[in-house]
């Protein structure tokens, strides 16, 4: 009779080999589904130059018109300003707004004030050029679409519920592994946690599918997949944190839905700007006044045994305030508002003294500033950025020096500054390609292994293939958000999505490369995976911007 324990062990090893392959399949399916159900590349409307008869296709929801080469519709007419006006599509139809041109903009010969509606066959006069506003169907020439949406097969994308089933099954396998590697106490606890996780996942799916009637669920499925890994990896470490993490994730999912609803109408967003600023400043002030000071940084607020990092949420508000619709972006007022708000945030962060948070804010500021800037404004923003940088360096110089000391020399400081990194490297290497099994690692005994060092924890227990796959699945959101840029319903969405995706990649890089001694360790979290209630909430908040940028989110209902 064959040895039974050998068969059992062989099964567990087979599972460990299977999981990385399975993870790759899931991530592939999510991204494949993001490409589907797209409208074909056709102009929405056209502008016909009445003098020359040439037809200009209008491709976007928001189009800048002007003499500047960067405009969506370039009019080479000396009477036209560099940034003359903006042509927008809204639910109610097409509108045109003058953005401070010298010559003004006319519809059917009448100068416009504010936003004016344009109807088919109306004549728009810009400088000395007349355009007739026509339907898009008249334009026949083929248009090139982004490579991300090219060569999409006709096969329908994987059904959302099937994708969800795959994700849940993956988490189930993790629970099975965690049951196998246990020390004899609570053999059933991974299963209970899995049950709770599955309930949250499917609850969210049902809300999205039945209540909100969304057709697409792939971004959420990917986020759930990653969130679930972060929750399950905690089961053999600090079980209580796993449940807190799960609850925080559920709150994050609610935030996700609320933010999408809140920004549904791009023109109404400006109404929330001011209250949001108050909330942001309030949150930062709370953590300065009531925050507990740990390692010289007053960043955490403790409510009972639950700790909370308000600055994580301010990140979302920051992007919210920084982005804007194209017509608003081209006015100076919103820019000044944004800079004043940034200054206040910088000041408060400097008081707070948390290096990791300040760094992330600095990056967010640069991203937003870069995404929205243009022409002269670039200079103003560059000056503001420099002021931001100087404050930052002065405030954090001692911390920075300390962190750079062991950088790229961690083995010389293995018992001091390099302690965490050397342990991460050792245990990543010990895990091999397939890991030592969920709950069977030793990195979990090192401080901050579930947050700052979580890449090492995942790599040790589930193998380097899974760790790299989930890291790439987050990084690839940048490609997705870039591909949907020109198809967003407003620059508000495309700017905020680009910033959110960029921020995720920056966090990811700082976390992974900090833990593995490629960059200095900064204590930034790994999106979705790192344990931390406010972190997981803010990540869910951030991907709401990416979801909103996808035009299918609002336009297609089941």
């Amino acid at each position: 009779m064959p040895d039974l324990s050998f068969i059992f062990d062989a099964g567990v090893v087979a599972l460990r080999v299977l999981l990385p392959v399975y993870a790759i399949v899931i991530v592939y399916q999510c991204y494949a589904a993001m490409r589907r159900r797209r409208r074909t590349e056709k102009p929405l409307v056209t502008l016909c130059n009445m003098k020359t008869g040439s037809v200009i296709p209008i491709l976007f929801w928001e189009n800048s018109i002007g003499r500047s080469k960067g405009s969506d519709v370039v009019v080479s007419d000396l009477a036209v300003s560099r940034n003359h006006c903006v042509l927008l599509r809204r639910k109610e139809g097409w509108f045109i707004t003058d953005v401070g041109s010298t010559g003004g903009t006319f519809v059917n010969g009448v100068p416009i004030e504010g936003r004016a509606q344009v109807l088919i066959n109306d004549v728009i006069t810009i400088g000395s050029t007349d355009f007739e506003f026509r339907r898009g169907e008249e334009f026949q020439a083929p248009l090139k679409s982004s490579w991300f949406f090219q060569k999409v097969s006709n096969k329908p994308a994987i059904k959302a519920w099937k994708l969800m089933l795959m994700v849940t099954l993956f988490h189930f396998f993790m629970a099975v592994e965690a049951m196998y590697w246990n020390d004899g106490t609570n053999p059933q606890s991974p299963l209970i946690l899995f049950g709770a996780l599955a309930a949250v996942e499917w609850g969210f799916f049902c809300v999205s599918y039945f209540a909100l009637r969304r057709v697409n669920f792939e971004l959420e499925a990917l986020a759930l997949f990653l969130t679930g890994i972060g929750v399950m990896i905690l089961v053999r470490q600090v079980e209580r944190s796993a449940y807190i993490q799960l609850i925080a994730a559920a709150v994050g999912m609610v935030m996700f839905c609320v933010i999408i609803k809140l920004i549904e109408d791009p023109d109404k967003i400006s109404r929330f700007r001011f209250p949001m600023m108050i909330v942001a400043v309030g949150l930062l002030l709370t953590s300065i006044l009531f925050g507990k000071i740990t390692k010289g940084a007053a960043n955490w607020i403790y409510i009972g045994s639950f700790s909370f990092q308000p600055s994580e949420l301010v990140k979302i508000i920051y992007i919210f305030i920084g982005a804007g619709t194209l017509d608003k972006l081209q006015t100076k007022k919103s820019l000044i508002e944004f800079i004043i708000f940034s200054m206040i945030c910088v000041g408060l962060l400097a008081l707070m003294g948390d290096f990791g948070t300040a760094l992330i804010f600095f990056v967010t500021f640069l991203l937003i500033a870069f995404m929205r800037s243009g022409d002269i404004k670039t200079i103003i923003l560059a000056v503001a950025a420099a002021a931001f940088g100087v404050t930052f360096v002065l405030r954090f110089k001692p911390y920075v020096a300390d962190r750079f000391k062991a950088w790229r020399h961690v083995w010389e400081y293995a018992q001091a500054e390099g302690y965490q990194q050397t342990h991460v490297l050792t245990f990543i290497a010990s895990g091999g390609l397939f890991g030592v099994g969920v709950g069977n690692g030793f990195l979990k005994q090192v401080a901050a292994s579930e947050s700052d060092l979580v890449f090492g924890l995942v790599a040790e227990e589930m193998g380097i293939i899974v760790a790299i796959t989930i890291a790439l699945s987050v990084a690839l959101l940048v490609i997705y958000s870039r591909a949907i840029t020109t198809r967003s319903r407003s620059t508000f969405y495309s700017i905020s999505a680009g910033c959110a995706a960029g921020l995720l990649v920056v966090q990811l890089s700082l976390n992974i490369f900090g833990a593995t001694d490629i960059l200095p360790l900064t204590g930034v979290t790994f999106p979705f995976i790192s344990c931390g209630g406010s972190s997981i909430m803010s990540v869910w908040g951030l991907i709401a911007f990416i979801k909103a940028a996808d035009e299918r989110t609002y336009s297609i209902k089941r």
């Binding site: 050998f6 090893v13 010990s430 380097i464 840029t485 960029g502 890089s509 490369f513």
Partner: protein
């Protein structure tokens, strides 16, 4: 919208930089994984100094040198074998960093880049390692060397294949019963974790005359026809150079076999600094050899700034000359092998070294000595043993045609000289090169020679019995 798209492209560059970083990390992981795993705190390989799951270490004939029984590391049952191979096999403490158990701990425990560590118990494959050393040769050589109670080393290796048959270092201890080293006994165990074969270098004394000879053979056309006059001492460069005897009128070959200092001191001065530096450099004196991932201690020869007297002393292996035992064995092996040196190795089989498996890391061979010079050195070193050493000790290297040179290096202070003997056998069925050194002892012929004699006889017997 176009502008936003263009700016989004920059964020895409962030993602590409991230992917590049992941690539860089993967590269670092592949290259360094084994070094990263071999850490004392790595709980995946804990117990018995991380050897709880380690495989068996065999000698070349399949004797078990170390194995794990029920989670405990057990060493060979012969005390001399255990002590003799301490520095090669290692002990539980992992203090001897050049030993196999320290170097290949992760491989012994079944580590691989693909599977990592900690497979389920029933599926774990621990790797066994077979060494090239011969247990009985090492035991005999260790007993002979340890009898002096001094620091020393003896190495014998096959200069055709690179296999090390004997490698012992003193002081040593019994790995089955490691001593607790404290203030009261630290003198006795000074340098105990150092494998003197690989990691120490010593003043060479007269064995360096091999290098001076090579320089003379290549640069003095009348070497074999001229004669020198030894009066027991001679003033060179304002100071005395002394000889052990008064040899009188003497030719080169006799000077080599009788180890006349005056002749070699004069040769060194006559050849000059550049020639001496160049020859020593060519023969690898300043070089470190890589033996199974361990770099040997470098020798030292540099007379660029020496005065004439120092140059004279440097030619007879004094001044600040230094050589490493393994290095001397390689040099002698190269003489026996017609000028070609074969890099030594301790691993016969199973180090799990991927590069070795695909044949990338096979023993390296390189030209160390010009073949004409090698054959001349062969002749004079054989002459030294046959017509001089053999008369002084009956049965010396019996059954082998050994070519050798002894050395007695003064080290100053209040220490006695380092005793040296280096050489090789010409026999086709036992192509063995050796080096033996005993610190703080006396004449090379008196102290190093008996140890070398034992080691060579055992090693030759081992090879001839098909081991």
């Amino acid at each position: 919208m176009k502008r936003i798209m263009r700016r989004n492209t920059l964020i895409l560059l962030f993602a590409l930089a991230f992917i590049g970083g992941i690539g860089f990390f993967s590269f670092e992981l592949i290259v360094n994984a084994e070094a990263w795993v071999d850490q004392p705190y790595n709980a995946h390989v804990s117990g018995s100094g991380g050897l709880e799951q380690a495989g068996v270490i065999y000698d070349r004939s399949g004797y078990i040198l170390a194995e794990t029984v029920d989670g405990d590391r057990v060493y060979n049952d012969n005390s001399s074998v255990r002590r003799g191979l301490l520095h090669t096999v290692g002990d539980n403490s992992l203090n001897i960093s050049t030993a196999v158990q320290s170097k290949y701990r992760s491989q012994l425990s079944g580590y691989s880049l693909i599977w990592g560590l900690n497979m389920p118990q029933s599926m774990r494959i621990s790797h066994d390692i077979t060494l090239t050393v011969d247990a009985s040769t090492c035991a005999a050589a260790y007993d002979a060397l340890a009898a002096y109670g001094k620091k020393g080393a003896c190495v014998v290796y096959n200069y055709k294949t690179g296999e090390v048959l004997c490698s012992v270092s003193t002081p040593g201890y019994d790995p089955a019963n490691p001593p607790e080293i404290n203030e009261s006994n630290e003198d006795q165990y000074d340098g105990v974790y150092l494998d003197n074969v690989l990691s120490s270098s010593y003043a060479p004394g007269s064995i360096f005359k091999i290098v001076t000879s090579a320089a003379a053979m290549e640069n003095m056309s009348d070497l074999y026809t001229r004669t020198w006059n030894c009066t027991g001492q001679k003033e060179i460069g304002g100071h005395m150079v002394t000889c052990t005897e008064t040899h009188g009128e003497i030719d080169y070959k006799t000077a080599m076999s009788h180890s006349c200092n005056i002749v070699f001191a004069e040769i060194a001065v006559e050849l000059g600094r550049d020639v001496m530096n160049e020859t020593a450099g060519k023969m690898g004196i300043n070089k470190s050899y890589e033996v199974d991932d361990v770099k040997t201690a470098k020798g030292h020869f540099d007379v660029t700034d020496a005065n004439d007297n120092q140059l004279a002393w440097s030619g007879i292996g004094q001044y600040d000359d230094a050589v490493n035992p393994m290095q001397m064995a390689v040099l002698c092996g190269a003489i026996g092998n017609g000028g070609k040196a074969v890099n030594p190795t301790y691993i016969k089989d199973g180090s799990g070294d991927l590069l070795k498996l695909i044949g990338f890391n096979k023993p390296k061979e390189y030209d160390l000595i010009n073949s004409n010079t090698a054959s001349q050195l062969d002749d004079v070193m054989r002459y030294t043993v046959r017509d001089y050493y053999s008369y002084q000790r009956s049965g010396l290297f019996e059954g082998l045609s050994v070519c050798a040179k002894t050395g007695t290096a003064e080290v100053g202070e209040d220490k006695k000289p380092n005793a040296w003997m280096v050489g090789y056998s010409q026999d086709e069925d036992a192509p063995l090169a050796f080096a033996c050194v005993v610190e703080d002892s006396g004449y090379g012929f008196e102290y190093a020679c008996p140890v070398a004699d034992v080691a060579m006889k055992y090693a030759a017997a081992c090879l001839r019995n098909g081991g």
